[in-house]
Symmetry: C2
Subunit: 388 residues, 2 copies
């Protein structure tokens, strides 16, 4: 059944190949000092940087920049951004990039007016912001994390070998996000596929928990079926606008709190994947792919009915006279075939993990309790070994 909950998602979205035209009007709602945040500079190659700088100039904004935000934004980079934002008295942050740039911008937004160190406050003590939050807007160039319509912000601390996400409340969600599927088309295939699996796993993390019948799981099944169809088309032809637009829109709804309403959730694949990421700095979606099958095959007996339902409702496997065990197995086999078909990395060794790292990765894995089986440390080590 649907447990008690609240739902509020104030982010305004502009979607489509003409969506950048709304940036001008949105900027009018915010202050004069803008912090422009972006990544490794691909937006300079594509011309998007020039377009955005042009719009900011038209709006007579004072622009400071933080560039070079890395795929797994570090705590050092976060502190740098906070310093730049303070120096320039920014009253608006414009994130142009993928989930990392959006996550990073949100982490800066809650830290600019806060005297505590952001890592300690938000990622160790898990406090909520008690200072003025600088509003954030996003121009998204990559589909995957859902960061464009949620309050999540993952930060990596290489020294501590920790990669931790803090999900902030609706006052930290972007005020608006501009989603143009064409911007995602210049992405290398490896990144596109990693994003696709990130989306799939966001849904699975919320789906594989609980025994009840609830609306959220039906929505999840619809989203997953649409994603599987679109992903095959996008891999066959990355310029397929229909497929890329469906992937982008699914990403947003996979992690904007809707499909977790009224239910428990798992998130252990993310905990495992983030620990792998902290050790290898590998692409987030690929770390999830590389640990997923070992994890799901291990917990399957504890959530058998849901895994059987996953097989029939998501992968279209005909139940016939098959047992739940058989169905559940076939469902995960179908997922494995699809993962290989779209070109995901299927083990953590290929991401740079070594035997020597396993104990450390296990130590860095947060153990959550919402899934079908609460793991102990030995089980985590075993799953990591199975993922090698």
């Amino acid at each position: 059944m649907l447990g008690n909950f609240s739902y509020h998602n104030p982010t305004k979205l502009y979607f489509g190949d003409d969506s950048l035209k709304y940036l001008r009007d949105e900027l009018k709602n915010y202050g004069q000092n803008v912090l422009l945040v972006y990544g490794g500079g691909s937006i300079k190659k594509t011309g998007l940087y020039d377009e955005i700088v042009g719009i900011l100039a038209e709006c007579a904004k004072n622009v400071a920049e933080v560039s070079g935000v890395m795929p797994n934004p570090t705590v050092e980079k976060l502190r740098e951004g906070v310093a730049v934002a303070r120096e320039n008295k920014v009253d608006f942050i414009l994130a142009v990039g993928g989930g990392s740039v959006c996550d990073y911008s949100k982490a800066v937004s809650v830290s600019v007016n806060c005297s505590d160190d952001p890592w300690d406050k938000y990622y160790i003590r898990f406090e909520e912001p008690d200072c003025e939050i600088v509003p954030v807007g996003c121009v998204l160039t990559m589909a995957g994390t859902g960061s464009e319509m949620n309050g999540g912000a993952v930060i990596t601390n290489h020294e501590a070998k920790l990669k931790i996400g803090h999900v902030f409340g609706d006052d930290v969600m972007p005020k608006f996000s501009i989603l143009n599927p064409r911007y995602t088309m210049t992405l290398p295939k490896y990144q596109m596929c990693a994003g696709i699996y990130d989306i799939m796993n966001h849904i699975c993390e919320q789906y594989f928990s609980g025994e009840d019948d609830n609306t959220s799981d039906y929505i999840s099944e619809g989203l997953m079926r649409g994603l599987i169809t679109a992903s095959k088309k996008a891999v066959a032809d990355p310029q397929d606008y229909e497929a890329r637009s469906n992937i982008m829109w699914t990403a947003t709804w996979a992690l904007n709190t809707l499909v977790s309403r009224g239910k428990t959730t798992d998130w252990m694949v993310h905990m495992l994947g983030q620990a792998v990421g902290a050790y290898t700095d590998a692409t987030h979606g690929m770390t999830l792919a590389a640990v997923s099958l070992a994890y799901y095959r291990y917990i399957m007996p504890y959530g058998l009915k849901k895994f059987a339902r996953f097989a029939t409702q998501v992968w279209g496997i005909s139940p016939g006279s098959k047992s739940d065990e058989q169905l559940a197995k076939e469902g995960l086999d179908a997922m494995e075939s699809w993962m290989k078909q779209i070109g995901l990395v299927m083990n953590i060794k290929d991401l740079g993990a070594t035997e020597e790292m396993i104990e450390g990765i296990a130590d860095a894995t947060l153990i959550l309790k919402g899934g079908y089986k609460v793991l102990d440390r030995d089980e985590i080590v075993n799953i990591l070994r199975q993922s090698m």
Copy 2:
């Protein structure tokens, strides 16, 4: 493919059997003069009225009331509400009831500070509000219309024999809505079933349009499958909280703009049903049920692939070697069986329509152009005759 669109839904939702407790905090955000709007007085029998009046008193609000809002709110009642709101200088409207009470409250909210007659302005000239809108909050007691999270407001003009909906923008959407599935349990079964079909048809109206592949349709399929499952359980046991909560949550997402993003939509069943309603004053959901099958069977050949998909993805019909025609037919047959199983009214005669009314109902039917076949007046007459 997903066409270009924007999405913004600022309504805050509190869901669950404890959700009324949030009313107190929400009321603090609004002014002192509250207009309490409700229907025929069932909330007095259930005790909800006393609870809410108690909370309003605790918050030291000045309360004016409009009661007796009918299932199809009339333009005369609308003018009465506007007058009461003006006299009492209300700065907040609290709707307690089903979709009609919510719709009505929104229609009042855009009319209080406007000198034009609301019927002429919003339902004949279809203008947008250019005056201050009074904020609305809802406590929902019936699941169906989705009015709790959208900008829709349907008003009936019996004199003109017109029942017309105006879908206002996000500034007219309720600021918050309180959704307690238990409140829906005191509803007569007839009303519950009418609500269930209203939800189903909201989704169908958005689903049966367009040839492309898009995320919205996958979400719709998930919502429909969940609704079908929950409806059977709720009919078997109206006190089944799990089923009632799933129905209530599905209703919200069936018509809060999500499943129409990026696609064309139909809405002809609503046009037909509303015209029947204007002549018979019958329950909205039942008017939709009574005209649906004649309409869908008539347009099926023009949208064959979608109707075949509906059969396999929503009703679980195995495609085998069946033709699209066969599948499409079996899908609608499955829907018919389900409609009969949950006890819907299957023809307009049983709702009070007579042969003599048919020409008038046809005249009152707005012809929309988003479906698989743009109807002419003769076709509308034929569909109405088939629905007798």
